[in-house]
Symmetry: C2
Subunit: 889 residues, 2 copies
Amino acid sequence: MNKHVFMFDDTDANGKELLGGKGANLAEMTRIGLPVPYGFTISTKACNAFYEAGEQLPADVKEQVDTALEKLEKTTGKGLGDRENPLLVSVRSGAVFSMPGMMDTVLNLGMNDETVVSMAELTGEPRFAYDSYRRFIQMFSDVVLGVDSEKFERKIETHKQLHGFSADPDLSASDWKTLIKQFQTIVEQETGRAFPQDPCEQMILAIQAVFGSWNNDRAQLYRKWHGIPGHLGTAVNIQSMVFGNTGNDSGTGVAFSRNPSTGESKLYGEYLINAQGEDVVAGIRTPQAIETLRDSMPDVYQTFAETCRRLENHYRDMQDIEFTIERGKLFILQTRNGKRTAEASVRIAVDMHEEEILTKDEALMRVDPEQLGQLLHRRIDETSSFEVLAKGLPASPGAATGKVVFSADDAEDKKAAGVPVILVRPETTPDDIHGIIAAEAVVTTRGGMTSHAAVVARGMGKACISGCSDVSIDLANKTFSVGSTEVSYLETVTINGGTGELMLGELTMADPELSDEFHRLLAWADDRKHLGIRTNSDTPDDAARALAFGAEGIGLCRTEHMFMDPERIPVVREMILALTSADRQQALDRLLPMQADDFRGIFETMGSRPVTIRLLDPPLHEFLPDKEELIKETAQLEITDPASNELKTKKELLREVRRLDESNPMLGHRGCRLAMVYPEIYAMQVEAIMHAAIDRAADGAAVRPEIMIPLVGHVNELKAMRRLVKESADRVLNETGEYVAYTIGTMIEVPRAALTADAIAAEADFFSFGTNDLTQTTFGYSRDDAENKFLQRYIDDETLADNPFMVLDSEGVGELVKIGVEKGRSVKEQLKTGICGEHGGETSSIAFCHAQRLDYISCSPYRVPLARLAAAQAAVVEQTGAAKEKINV
Amino acid sequence: MNKHVFMFDDTDANGKELLGGKGANLAEMTRIGLPVPYGFTISTKACNAFYEAGEQLPADVKEQVDTALEKLEKTTGKGLGDRENPLLVSVRSGAVFSMPGMMDTVLNLGMNDETVVSMAELTGEPRFAYDSYRRFIQMFSDVVLGVDSEKFERKIETHKQLHGFSADPDLSASDWKTLIKQFQTIVEQETGRAFPQDPCEQMILAIQAVFGSWNNDRAQLYRKWHGIPGHLGTAVNIQSMVFGNTGNDSGTGVAFSRNPSTGESKLYGEYLINAQGEDVVAGIRTPQAIETLRDSMPDVYQTFAETCRRLENHYRDMQDIEFTIERGKLFILQTRNGKRTAEASVRIAVDMHEEEILTKDEALMRVDPEQLGQLLHRRIDETSSFEVLAKGLPASPGAATGKVVFSADDAEDKKAAGVPVILVRPETTPDDIHGIIAAEAVVTTRGGMTSHAAVVARGMGKACISGCSDVSIDLANKTFSVGSTEVSYLETVTINGGTGELMLGELTMADPELSDEFHRLLAWADDRKHLGIRTNSDTPDDAARALAFGAEGIGLCRTEHMFMDPERIPVVREMILALTSADRQQALDRLLPMQADDFRGIFETMGSRPVTIRLLDPPLHEFLPDKEELIKETAQLEITDPASNELKTKKELLREVRRLDESNPMLGHRGCRLAMVYPEIYAMQVEAIMHAAIDRAADGAAVRPEIMIPLVGHVNELKAMRRLVKESADRVLNETGEYVAYTIGTMIEVPRAALTADAIAAEADFFSFGTNDLTQTTFGYSRDDAENKFLQRYIDDETLADNPFMVLDSEGVGELVKIGVEKGRSVKEQLKTGICGEHGGETSSIAFCHAQRLDYISCSPYRVPLARLAAAQAAVVEQTGAAKEKINV
């Protein structure tokens, strides 16, 4: 028989995989002697067994739960359903990766019409007992029985109005008693049977409900967003209840051992006096800062601060801790590695290395490369003038501009229509998760720094202001007001999550300021990584930005955008439409000095770093007017002005556009195929490159142009192109009498190039894997068509694990990269190899490139820091076998 | 020093590669004691050396020529330029593969102002001597000095008119003497120097001219058509002249040891009395049939017939022999394996096996599979009524219909415009080669069965009528007339090359009648081959045709053409434009019985043979109206009738067309990707297949449906499709209570499928390599775009050796096939594998499939016989190492 149930002090089980994160930590804390209310954990394997059995708890699990319950009763000296000394428990989910609020929880389980009476007698607080019972009925009915919570709330409202009460505390024990009766009637009406009085039945039902909630919509959505596999399952923790709502010497709170927003090494959190834990997380009441506990309960605070330190040292990471104070006694309900912003993540990692808690490798592994992008985004230009409309808590940093929406559904709709939105809510609940995903940022009027909105937004790297009480929302009319200022639905606002400030309109943005810790961490990464990190940049500005982010060269400078310049496009069109080679040459002669200027600027920025320039790639018709527009115009002119010259001209143009038109341009006349037919285009580009290089060389710069041929599929193409490039380059060198070293390489971006890489390598100084096109041809997917038509569906239904245009498909596309590198190196051992598809900026793809021993990856400027760190992590993982941690999920 | 020059009786050289075909055979015939005029051969390597030296004969070759010439003079007892006993020689090209008439020839070399006098004295025939001299000047000036032959012809014309002569024989020795003077003046005017009198200089110049002609336009075109590599070069043969034009006991002719048109084992040829060899080949005089020689010169005929038999037995193949009779003595000038029609090819191979000359394997290797197609083409329905307008010689069999053109250039122009043409000429010359390539068939009014037009047309498998003297052509007015009937430019005619008949208009065609030899040869092939041969057929008619040609099953039954039926297309559109799944199902329900009918017909035809049905593959927008047309129509309606319902409807339709529109449909939403989104489409198709199969099974037939999923790239797609197919099929089986075995397989047509074939094989009963799409994705070529835009250029400039859509690219695409087969079989040893791209009907690609041990290939019905033979040849080549011969080039 498999063991599915483990007491917190069982010694024969550990590990998050089996016990879930929460269960493992409860066991661990129990082991090291922290004040954890006793209980047991039902393993994640039991969850899988539950689903295999058709969403029923298998008999052997039930038996083990009974045995565990007996032990719990024995240890606590209480009994579930015992009239004399009733045991109450919480039933909580606890997955391998924390999914805050996504799954169900039941508190106060074990209450019934009898135990509530004993509770009242035992505690001498009947109001507390009946309040707890009604809370239990509400929660259990909602979570386990599926009765809409609103129905209960409406009864409470009615009761208040009837008796002139304004708030919950006005209700007495007998009020709650009356309401409990009404609640039970509701349950009977809705479910067709009485509210279950048997605490054992309650427990089995609750366990099943929690397991069942693993697959609710919001949990699935959350897992998808964070990339958590569905087969992991959740554990369930049964823990004896402690009560933070037994008076003013009780309370409950959440704290982080360091600031999860900035990383500052200082206790950070909040608590509520006389409340249960759910009240804090739900963000319904705005709690007090943890520091104030020092004054109100100095001993408790002292113990708590020490415990936090102990936990952080034990887990060697910043902790997110839930605690409850029951009549002056501190209990730790949960600890876990705390979610944090990118800024905090970097600072904590660096600090912990300085504090000698972590090695450098460990510090490097602690930061999620994907998170780094958040630090690079533009922020509000503080030197520009703007007026702050309202201020709340700086719950998650970052600047965001968007149109105001008031519901998660609106957020999702508008986002789908391409409108960036700011979600403004009184508070958010797990049901709003799709709205938070859709929004640029979230503002809540209630709740603290640890409220649902704050935690989720930080985890997603979205800006958030919580507890912004200046704002009052009118949900019905879709407006909010701050004093006399009214802001309506879809009005534009800007928020600064780092300061908690809300402003009207769109504000000027400025480049980010990068912290000292950021630079230190990435310097460590540079020391550790093997891969070179280059950038895909087409302009001096982009190149400069990439350099500031640590790029070591340009891996892909596309030349087509240079052709698209409005001033040049007429000349480019002349070139394309030229009927004779001489006319074409004339247009190219006019483009030559412009191109030379482009390259001069880039060489100037890059100094002696390598600059890989890809010669013209797209099909020529991309530079011509839109065909459909021309068809429409000529069709109409044929009616309105059939004899006009305009019609004649347009018809001629349309004929040319049609001549160049292609059924599948992606697989058409582009890349080096253009230059095989019109060699003069590449000749001009190479001359421009060499003129620019010579100018820079004359100024004493050691420029390093690397000329790259796109879309080679057969070695004979590269042979011809190599000859053409060499002739053109050497002509300029001979004419000017100058010398500049240059190399000639090729993109590997169609399968045939990879499959025949041995032949191709003989003609190439370097290979650059163009994994965007290689993905298109390997899968047979046109990216333009696939994403809307079927690819999203493939990802949703897990036909594909990832979007292959974002995450390199290691089985298929990766296999070709592998074949290409192996065959290439079999001919030329020192062949330089790189990758310049968008995958060059994606963590797992970078690890793949590291494993293939590529020389470099190239990515967009904003991905450069990510790439540096990811490359270092790949090296650490390979050498030490360290696992990549998912910190923020 | 390399030996470049070989006497005919040299024993240290042999082989066509070095000596060219003609040189090798001259040496061989000399060796076996046949009456061959003595001479020597300058090797093909010397040709390459000539080009390497910048089109100059290298000094060492010149020296060797001098030495060889000395030997020739010694053996013949004559001297080049010797006044007493002058040696005259012919200088002819002789490539590895015969290229009749494509390169240059010089006869009578060695004549000059002095030797002509000796010739006249020695022969006592001054007219013959001066006629020969003027012929030499004309030919040498044309071929070597580049003087337009017309200039000489005009002088002859003028001379005739001046003296009232009507034909050449009217001219006396002194007339020719006068003209020789005029000719020499022309040469001096045109070239700036006197006609070369030094025979040694003549020889070197002639050798250089012949080498130079290897790269003339027509030779290059011919090589391209026949796939002869350009690096082979030509040899040059220098042979002492014998004269067929020394009177009525002399003559010259060409004969085949068997009939090259039908294969009949009977001497076949023709000759001219008192003529030189060029007169026969050029087709200017219509010669006499070889049989008549039996009466005119019985001894010579007897000797010749024996020699032919001897040569055929020696070379073990049908021979094409040139001979000259000089004053009653027979000389053999050349022998080679004779070009032949497909019909002859098959019959000769079969006969020669029956005659115990060839083994079965050899017989199989003797027929070029590509030629077989000629036998399958439809022929004129002899039972229909038609009138024969004119009748000529049946020079090359086959029926053809086309529009009349009178020049090679017109033929080429019209062909390029998509118009099939019949080229009608007095005679053809090597300069007309592009016109013959362009034409469906050729008609000449002059020339015999061995004329240029006849030989070339037979080689290309085109129909030809030669010597059609009823026809008189008016080139100036572009008409021809037969009696009172005038036929003008671009009028349609039909010819029957097998009977020599020319008819007006387009005639009814009928299926071919296949000879007994054809069936026997292919039965031998079936015994020999390993590959199964299936067909790509979508209709019962096609399937029946393929069966008649020997197909063993259907390898690809496409279902999209079934959707294109005009009656169905409205329902198909309804299905596509359906907004709800229910509406879509309704349309599909109406398509179901139609589809079931389609399959029923095919199963009926195929009986118990396997039928692989590919479910719907093309993107749905292919079934919708043309987008450009809709844009035009709506644009115009917006002006002419902006409030009309028509505009509203068209706009809505346009919106839908746009929604389904794709930038790269080839890589878009098609194949199984359709069914991943709209599973009901495949479900309907599978139900239709199973209903049809069950109906047939109920009639007792053992139908074998194989259901094939297109465009699978990831195993998860195939998993989902397998589930869908199985559910749909089993539903029908359960409903009807019948049982029909079926299998489920996949196309391998994107690189990723091949690269992950191990995973995919686990879900597939069979693999069918769709090499059309696989070629597109492996190269990154859209076939629609590539062929016009750059692919033709790639083939012309030899960037690619072949069009990869016609000949499987074994390096790239083939590598993926190999990987796919290996990985697939690594998981499922008995995995059935086949190929269903167009390559399945191409000889070298079939050999590749054989080498990969595919189970079958599938090709279009008309390619089935070719595939059977090619598959057998692949097996023979593999087992015996036999080389594939190029017989008809």
